[in-house]
């Protein structure tokens, strides 16, 4: 019984990353499945009452399980590079609300009833911060898996290209018309860095085409350079990248870093 817990993956690269997580952090990795979530996986890193890292792969994404687990492990390795000082991205609630209130008065949202506009703006602001927190790490882990999991190249291509399709929905007229201009530009700027990263890896300009034609080539280059110039696999490098991205995008007052000791 209790067959819900699995461990050995098919990919050697993924298994090596799991071992690296266990060695770096001192906690075991348990891989399991989950349903009813929209993300690829749910990851809960170790804490005192749950002394394991739990990675639960979305049941609808099982064909990509090895790649999904590999990316989650690559994230853990970076975030836990110093287990006594794990960065936690913490939004400044008051400032986020202020930012959202201002956004609610912008042109596309003004057409809605005030409450709807405020709720939508807050949702968009939170989404933007989530993207700021996760996009640099996603780019880093795409690179990590490219070098450390050569047996997952095809799976990675499928997964990244599906994600690129999702990201480029921002260019669809119905999305563009309802998104406040600055929020849309900020979001697309971060997406453009992700696309440029994949263009660089694959040698194909295809992923960058919509961003180039919409004038995002320069910001893509700027944001991606901030990652390339900080190649260390450490949480410090990660938080620095988020901070400089936030500076480029004008989002740096909306969050702060807190740190927790993963060993206590």
């Amino acid at each position: 019984m209790s067959h819900a817990m699995a461990h050995r993956m098919n990919s050697d690269g993924t298994n090596q990353l799991i071992e690296a997580v266990e060695k770096t952090t001192g906690f075991k990795v348990i891989v399991d499945t989950v349903e009813g979530i929209s993300d690829d996986a749910q990851m809960i890193s170790a804490r005192p009452e749950m002394p394991i890292h739990s990675i639960r792969v979305n049941k609808t994404k099982l064909p990509y399980a090895d790649y999904i687990v590999a990316t989650q492990c690559a994230m853990l390795i970076r975030l836990w590079s110093n287990p006594k000082r794990i960065p936690v991205f913490s939004p400044n609630t008051d400032k986020v609300h202020f930012f959202a209130d201002r956004m609610a008065k912008s042109k596309p949202l003004k057409q809605f009833p005030a409450r709807t506009a405020t709720e939508t703006a807050l949702h968009l602001a939170q989404g933007l911060l989530h993207q700021l927190r996760s996009a640099p790490m996603e780019i880093q882990t795409v690179r990590d898996c490219r070098t450390q999991c050569p047996d997952l190249l095809d799976m990675q291509t499928d997964s990244v290209e599906a994600y690129l399709r999702l990201l480029s929905q921002n260019f669809a007229p119905e999305i563009r018309s309802i998104a406040p201009d600055q929020t849309w530009k900020n979001s697309v700027s971060m997406n453009s860095a992700y696309a440029l990263n994949w263009s660089g890896i694959t040698g194909s300009i295809l992923p960058m085409l919509p961003y180039q034609s919409a004038g995002f080539a320069d910001i893509a280059e700027t944001l991606l350079t901030e990652i390339s110039t900080r190649p260390d696999k450490t949480s410090e490098a990660y938080t620095q990248i988020v901070d400089v991205w936030a500076g480029h995008l004008g989002l740096n007052t909306l969050y702060k870093w807190e740190y927790r000791n993963g060993l206590q």
Binding site: M1, S2, H3, A4, M5, A6, H7, R8, M9, N10, K28, I30, V31, D32, T33, V34, I44, P48, E49, M50, P51, I52, S54, V57, K59, L62, P63, A65, D66, V69, D154, T157, D158, V160, E161, L164, R165, L166, S168, Q169, N170, F171, A172, P173, E174, A195, W198, S204, I205, L206, P207, L209, P210, S213
Partner: protein
């Protein structure tokens, strides 16, 4: 030998936009971007093959011409397809097969590979057409008949599927995939007839999850649970994070339930209630951290399966003294997960026993506080 440049024309509206890493809505809204993206897509594909490629998008159609300079264009493209298919890279193989089929519609290698790919993609009518053409041209193609049977079966035409598998087996009695697929159809109505086929297929394909799951499920249907369980366990172990493994896990959970409840005619197991109550009390005293350590040690141990039907106390833990039966450990783990993370799947439903144990626990707590 085909020394001419390889060329074909494809209408843009027939191009599958999901092959591009750009959202279809965004492409449809911007015709220039669409033309540029399709052109770049084919340029990239043919660039990888060497030679020179010309791609032009005009008047709603893509015109592709590829000159390999040396060698036969058909063979070069087909070899590249086979290489990609062996890697499981259907995404890149598909457009090449589509090009080949457009130029060589009666090539049996193209019909076989493209037909199977279409079948895997769920484009079943088209797959059946191509594979029927294949067995018409090459009637002794056992694997062609198998592929046709699979496409028919997926298209909910089980009778034609079974007939195709039987033809495949007449042509090649050792065709394990035809055996497995014929058995899967027979298992629905005559499971006893499917068993000999599954037995042989499992010997020929010992690492094939689908074969093992079908075999195990068929044995379960016949009430041969003791034989079924190790086969399902093996099926899961081959690739625990797969759709087939999920089906096998569900079958095993159901089996464990039937065994668990069978001893008490479907009622509540008092021994489990007591195990759960003991665990609740223990965890109350130990705190969350120790609860986590014990729970996840059991979970790790359980990865290889805990025998809940054997009452022998044959398991030990590092985090908790004593010896335990499999059912006792599963009960402790269940109680631990309820405290730590109720959304975790313990792999067995002990909710009725847990509700009883919780009542007793709360009663004891209230007496204790008085």
């Amino acid at each position: 030998m085909n020394q001419q440049p390889f060329s074909f024309i494809l209408r843009i509206e027939d191009f599958d936009l999901s092959r591009l890493p750009i959202a279809a809505d965004a492409l449809r809204a911007n015709p220039d971007l669409l033309a540029q993206a399709i052109s770049e897509y084919y340029t990239t594909i043919f660039r990888k093959l060497g030679g020179t490629a010309n791609v032009a998008v005009t008047a709603g159609a893509v015109h592709v011409s590829w000159d390999p300079k040396t060698g036969d264009a058909r063979d070069l493209i087909f070899e590249r397809c086979l290489g990609l298919l062996k890697q499981g890279n259907y995404r890149e193989a598909e457009p090449l097969l589509q090009c080949l089929y457009a130029r060589f519609p009666d090539d049996h290698e193209v019909l076989f590979n493209y037909g199977m790919m279409l079948s895997d993609q769920g484009r079943l009518d088209q797959a059946c057409r191509l594979l029927e053409r294949l067995v018409e041209i090459v009637p002794d193609h056992s694997h062609g008949w198998t592929a046709l049977g699979v496409a028919h079966a997926r298209n909910r035409d089980k009778q034609r599927g079974l007939a195709a598998f039987q033809t495949a087996l007449q042509l090649d009695p050792a065709n394990a995939y035809a055996m497995r697929n014929a058995a899967a159809i027979l298992a629905e109505t005559a499971p006893a007839d499917a068993i000999p086929l599954y037995e042989k297929a499992a010997k020929l394909l010992p690492e094939d999850q689908r074969t093992l799951f079908g075999y195990g499920a068929c044995l379960l249907r016949l009430g041969r649970q003791e034989e079924a369980d190790p086969i399902l366990i093996k099926c899961i172990a081959i690739n625990p994070l797969s759709d087939v493994a999920e089906e096998a896990k569900t079958a095993r959970t159901k089996l464990a339930h039937e065994n668990l409840r069978g001893n008490v005619a479907g009622g509540i197991r008092p021994d489990v209630v007591m195990y759960l109550l003991g665990a609740m009390k223990r965890f109350r005293d130990l705190g969350r951290m120790k609860t986590g350590t014990i729970t996840f040690e059991i979970a790790m141990l359980g990865r290889n399966g805990l025998d809940i039907n054997d009452p022998a106390q044959k398991y030990t833990l590092k985090s908790l003294p004593g010896k335990f039966s499999g059912l006792h450990l599963v009960s402790i783990m269940y109680a631990g997960m309820k405290i730590l993370d109720p959304s975790q799947n313990a792999g067995i439903d002990l909710s009725r026993e847990y509700a009883e144990a919780k009542k007793l626990f709360d009663l004891e707590q209230s007496h204790g506080s008085k």
